[in-house]
């Protein structure tokens, strides 16, 4: 299992905005544990909210990392706000949008929305905003405590580069 909670980047405005999608699939093991059938209750596969937060963090993290061509080790430092109004079920798609609100050498603050895309008869697709999220990221090598970390960028590994390449995001990373 790869720790990738977005499937594709669909829009990137460097240093401003990134939009990514995540298809919720019954092939994912965690859906069978969240929630399994129990006495008197059928199984109810629902995308865990914690993994939606992770997907939003990966969306916003890539945006922040891309701003400095992935030279910075960008780590999620704080979830300022997270609201989710509806559950996401298998066969639906989550669309995460992240916008940089502020950014400096030390880190960045982003705001984001979570949309749920539902597929209907005749190829119709409806989208609704079902959540909002505020995140803060730290540039690890410029952290305020001055603590040192390994030189290689362990945040943006090969999986992220593959995701960006397969999404058609050009770059020299």
């Amino acid at each position: 299992m790869r720790w990738m909670w977005i499937d594709r980047v669909v829009e990137l405005v460097p240093r401003q905005k990134l939009v990514a999608i995540k298809h919720v699939s019954l092939a994912e093991d965690h859906l069978h544990e969240h929630f399994p059938a129990a006495a008197g209750r059928d199984a109810l596969p629902v995308m865990p909210a914690s993994l939606i937060v992770e997907g939003c963090a990966q969306t916003a993290g890539i945006l922040v990392g891309h701003a400095e061509e992935f030279r910075e080790k960008v780590i999620l430092a704080k979830v300022g706000k997270f609201e989710l109004d509806r559950d996401a079920f298998p066969g639906q798609t989550l669309r995460y949008s992240a916008t940089i609100q502020q950014m400096d050498k030390v880190g960045a603050a982003t705001v984001g929305t979570i949309e749920l895309l539902e597929y209907g008869a005749g190829g119709t697709v409806t989208a609704a905003i079902v959540g909002r999220i505020d995140l803060m990221f730290s540039h690890l090598d410029n952290n305020m405590s001055g603590e040192k970390f390994p030189e290689h960028n362990f945040v943006f590994g090969e999986s992220f580069k593959t995701l960006l390449r397969s999404s058609g995001v050009a770059g020299a990373w």
């Binding site: 730290s138 952290n143 305020m144």
Partner: protein, 128 residues
């Protein structure tokens, strides 16, 4: 903007950034010890103050950076006289009088009170 008005806006920032109750934010409240701020919260506070008041805060202008790593400034876990005077010069909005009596580096964050933030904003707005 009066000092009271600044305090109210600073209080709003802290309520939002630290998820504390409005009545817990008093001028004497220390950001760390009393309001539970952790290191990343300091960046959050800087960003939110910038938004609230419409000015830019340079790195290290409000909160000091890398003080603990500088051997000239810290010796045996205590801030040296040189370190103290550097901190005072860099952070004129903070009151170091209590800290001076026992300048342990682990306690340096305690000089950042709500009052210090209000003074910082007041000075920034006056210099605009």
């Amino acid at each position: 903007m009066t000092r009271d008005e600044i305090f109210e806006k600073v209080r709003d920032v802290l309520v939002d950034a630290l998820a504390v109750d409005e009545e817990d934010v008093k001028p004497s409240s220390r950001l760390t010890t009393d309001l539970g701020a952790e290191s990343i919260d300091f960046l959050d506070i800087v960003f939110k103050l910038e938004q609230q008041f419409g000015f830019k805060i340079a790195q290290g202008e409000l909160f000091p950076e890398n003080v603990a790593q500088d051997p000239e400034y810290v010796k045996d876990g205590k801030v040296t006289a040189k370190g103290l005077s550097a901190l005072k010069a860099r952070l004129p909005h903070a009151d170091f009088s209590k800290f001076e009596a026992d300048p342990q580096i682990t306690k340096v964050a305690e000089v950042f009170t709500v009052d210090a933030l209000v003074t910082f904003v007041e000075r920034k707005l006056a210099a605009k």
